[in-house]
Symmetry: C2
Subunit: 588 residues, 2 copies
């Protein structure tokens, strides 16, 4: 801020327009000089090309994707009492990572998303890296009433918002301002990143999350580090304070801080290095999860789980997330053993973050629902989509559950996905002999959900018995068919996900095959699979094994097959639902 | 042993012939009834088929493979003062896992191997699972003089050995017996596995490791578990006792025991579960490693490193090995942090075991040299070799070294591989422009070693800069060419290994691509690669990143290419050595 002379920034608004107040309180707007030069020419050059069928078919129908530009981590996930907010790391100027803004969308249900203007922009303070949003309902921060806007200042701020986000946003601001005086609102806590500095900023929203204004006292945390980022902040009820988890990335530490007002933070403790070292720790997420089936009605047993994203250097290559199960006493996270877990058995699920203030249903304090970036830094800048890159996972609810051996395991399920189910496709399969298959065509351009529960027995002969769920196409005159398979090997009790039979994209780091050991001693194999354009999510054994993968067929996968290979398959359930599109209305 | 009535087993010899003494001392031999029925018919049926070119070319020239049958973990690795012993988990009756014996080979140098008769067989006590061999030089066990063989008993034993291993082995026995009276010798400590029981056996060798006789007091450890195996035993100099590490496999624990005589074991401590849980912990290995470049001359700094193999459930799928760095005080292993490391960034390096009593060179106590099984339980029973399955890694020496960030990292290098280098191939490459390549043909049927040191700079344009080392063939009229690549991405500083361009074998778990982050801040990329038929070993940055992979081209890879892709490559060194075959003489 030194270069601003007597001016103090109170807010940095979308699309590179900064709002300042002078030391006398006058509000003015400025546009950083580097904004226009930040638009890579390569993307503009591609804009006029006709879009091949395959490229068009890569846009998911129910997974969130940005309207255009490049998206990575989810940020600021919160239910504000009326809508779900999804902010996201966003380059609106091109389809490569960089020039990081906070993109924004809102939703009533985490599936139907409405694009909003950029909420936090690149500014002279740096790029707007990852962070959180909390609802400062009681204005503990004092940020909201502290705004001493005279009539002229309010008019200037409204004009600045109108310049960025249009007259609608400005009107909303005016309305919200009127209704909000003396109350709290949404506060973002996030990282400003410059080439040799990463510091934590607090910003408040005058318009219910549409835009955020940096606090004049920013940064609130600065340890003179270029490797210090991604604050996840939540209200810790037991100790009645805000708790922040953030990383000293290269030191592979998660640092915890506490605050009463979101502005002044006290260091509580550090955790790590722990588990996998990788190169950088990123995007920590500390959350209390219920242990399914334990505790008394209304008061479930819980554990605190600390998630740490790693990039690069995750074991499957590039980006991945490990977690630890333990306790958090308001000061310190203490793992209850020296084990780590991996969030996903494939490699396209990164930088997960849970929703703050989820509406309560059966879970006290609200379900633990997260979104993650459905990609990997090893190839995110090269994916064969056109005009946009990056998707989020489906919202996923997490719990812990003891497996047959007594181990606490993370279980994940899509959150309320059932709402999107259309009438199931007619598909019958009761029993498949050693080399039999059942087939159904899949609808074009729709996400589909498959639920299959089977009992498997080795067939005659020594060949390994396998059960295969295959998404296929027949190919064309010049191109053989493709298939994407999920399957189970009976002898080793392992699950696989194989995308290597798809030919729409290849790259040295785009691993073809993933696998995981299924929990021992299970009589049935239960698979739930969602295929949505270029995304595949696999939930096995009621969410105990989850794999997430980008998939790029050269031609759309329009058939589904269940196959027995040297196995006897008794099908207890096999259902296929088309899912009602939620993203189609506002996506090309 | 209850079914034996008054007989007590003193030894179980190779190929299912058991040696017993009655309670009066009479020695007799018996053949368990199940031995002949243990030979699967499938392998016999294949024996007469002509061998395709590709199949023949899968037999390595310098990596140990069994003459026929199925091989998995290395066992009983020891330098006995004259030769290196390699025992291995072995099914001599077929090319699938099962009927586990201890196969055996000896070598003067860990490269030239001489097949020996089976050393420990399946017996009524169970299969002969993994374990160790120690040199009980001073007969601390008392096993050797305790043998009260009368003239007739010695003759019977000699006859039994002759029946199994031939007259040469029997003569050696007689000679050794004469020279060995009153001295110690080789002792095996290993697991006998039956369907519901795994117990630890001690066996002594009357003939310098050719065969082993179980001690009448066996088992020496029995905790009534079916999940308790793989003792690794070594002499712990500081506490003057034998130390055993073995696993409670399903409990994911490593248990340490101590003994003065190899027969009576005291429980010292347990370690784990720790790090990755997986399904079973197997084949623990505790070893003291020097920290390269630290300490005073003649007295290097060291750490104890505990390796734990996991199967299934390793993060890359199936089998893998994690390790912990810490201290061992003779009673307890204490990790110095909560980090774990992974031995290999690919997935074909399992059940590693270090050599006991390595000859001293520059490392006090001898170098830490290991062999591992170059395969994975996910596909080892389906590999497209003919008449044999399973290979060992090259012998690898391990150290620790601090990286640029101060972290202790495991480094590995092939042990004395330089001895096998023939005259280097004429190959010159000084500088490669953004889309240039250098090519050399590779000799047929020989292992080759590549050493490449390069400096890399991003080329013009936004496409990612990459440096590629490719093993290629041109294909045939009916089949396109294949390639196997190792490469570096400049922007992300990551290394890949990609075997997905080979078409000799595919299977849902046979992962195509592997990768690892290179240490930060390195000016040069240093790669050392050994391609030997169906095996590939990659050592990057002087052994800091090691990847091991089975590779099955449909046709032999007969060309080597260095390529710059959108990068400027300055080649400081690029050398290609054919390696003198060491296994060809006794392998088809």
């Amino acid at each position: 801020m030194a270069c601003l002379g007597r001016r103090q920034a109170i807010g940095l608004l979308s699309s590179g327009v900064a709002a300042f107040v002078t030391t006398r309180g006058t509000l003015m707007a400025s546009t950083p000089a580097n904004t226009s030069s930040a638009r890579p020419g390569a993307d503009a050059a591609q804009a006029g090309r006709p879009r091949p069928v395959a490229l068009a078919s890569y846009r998911p129908a129910i997974h969130f994707t940005p309207p255009h530009g490049f998206m990575n981590d989810p940020n600021g996930l919160i239910w504000d009492g009326k809508v779900f907010h999804l902010y996201y790391q966003y380059n609106p100027h091109g389809t490569h990572a960089g020039y990081v803004h906070w993109g924004h969308a809102t939703s009533p249900d985490l599936y139907n998303w409405h694009d909003q203007p950029v909420a936090i922009s690149v500014s002279e303070a740096g790029q707007a890296f990852s962070g959180s949003v909390v609802l400062d309902r009681h204005n503990r921060s004092g940020l909201f009433p502290q705004l001493p806007l005279a009539h002229q200042e309010a008019a200037d701020l409204k004009a600045a918002i109108a310049a960025i986000s249009g007259p609608g946003a400005a009107s909303a601001f005016a309305q919200n301002k009127a209704s909000q005086d003396g109350e709290g609102g949404l506060v973002a806590i996030y990282t400003r990143s410059r080439p040799h500095s990463q510091t934590q900023f607090v910003a408040w929203s005058p318009n219910q999350g549409t835009t955020y204004l940096d606090w004049p006292g920013d940064p609130v945390l600065d340890i003179a580090s270029d490797s210090y980022r991604d604050p996840k902040v939540f209200w810790h009820e037991a100790s009645q304070k805000w708790v922040m988890a953030l990383v000293q990335a290269r030191a592979r530490k998660v640092s915890f801080y506490g605050s009463a007002d979101l502005l002044h933070w006290r260091h509580l403790s550090d955790f790590g290095p722990a588990g996998l070292r990788g190169v950088d720790y990123e995007c920590p997420c500390l959350v209390e999860l219920p242990v399914a089936g334990e505790g008394t009605p209304g008061e479930s047993q819980t554990r605190w789980v600390l998630f740490v994203s790693i990039n690069p250097g995750a074991p499957l290559g590039g980006s991945g997330t490990q977690y630890f199960v333990g306790d958090f006493d308001g000061e310190r996270f203490t793992p209850e053993n020296t084990l780590l877990g991996l969030l996903d058995f494939a490699k396209d699920c990164y930088a997960m973050q849970t929703y703050n203030d989820m509406p309560s249903n059966d879970v006290p304090g609200g379900a633990a629902v997260y979104l993650a970036w459905l990609s990997n830094w090893q190839y995110c800048n090269e994916l064969p989509t056109q005009g946009w890159r990056g998707a989020m996972t489906l919202p996923r609810e997490m719990r812990l559950r003891r497996d047959g051996e007594g181990w606490l395991r993370l279980v994940q399920q899509p959150w309320q996905l059932e709402r999107l189910r259309e009438a199931p496709l007619p598909f019958r399969a009761h029993r498949l002999g050693p080399m039999e298959r059942a087939h159904t065509p899949l609808p074009a351009n729709l996400a589909v959900e498959i639920e299959v529960t089977v009992r498997l027995e080795q067939g005659p002969g020594s060949q390994p018995g396998r059960f295969v769920i295959a998404f296929v196409n027949r190919g064309t005159a010049t191109m053989p068919g493709e298939e994407l398979t999920v399957g189970v090997d009976l002898q080793t009790n392992q699950l696989w996900l194989d995308r290597s039979g798809l030919r729409g994209y290849s790259q040295p780091f785009f691993t073809g095959q993933f696998s995981e050991a299924l929990p021992a001693g299970l009589e049935r194999v239960e698979l739930r699979i969602i295929l949505d354009a270029s995304t595949l999510e696999v939930y096995a054994q009621r969410g105990m094994c989850v794999g997430t993968a980008l998939v790029f067929p050269a031609n759309p996968l329009n058939g589904l097959e269940l196959r027995a290979e040297n196995a006897q398959v008794t099908v207890h359930e096999a259902r296929v639902w088309p899912l009602r599109p939620t993203m189609a209305a506002n996506r090309g």
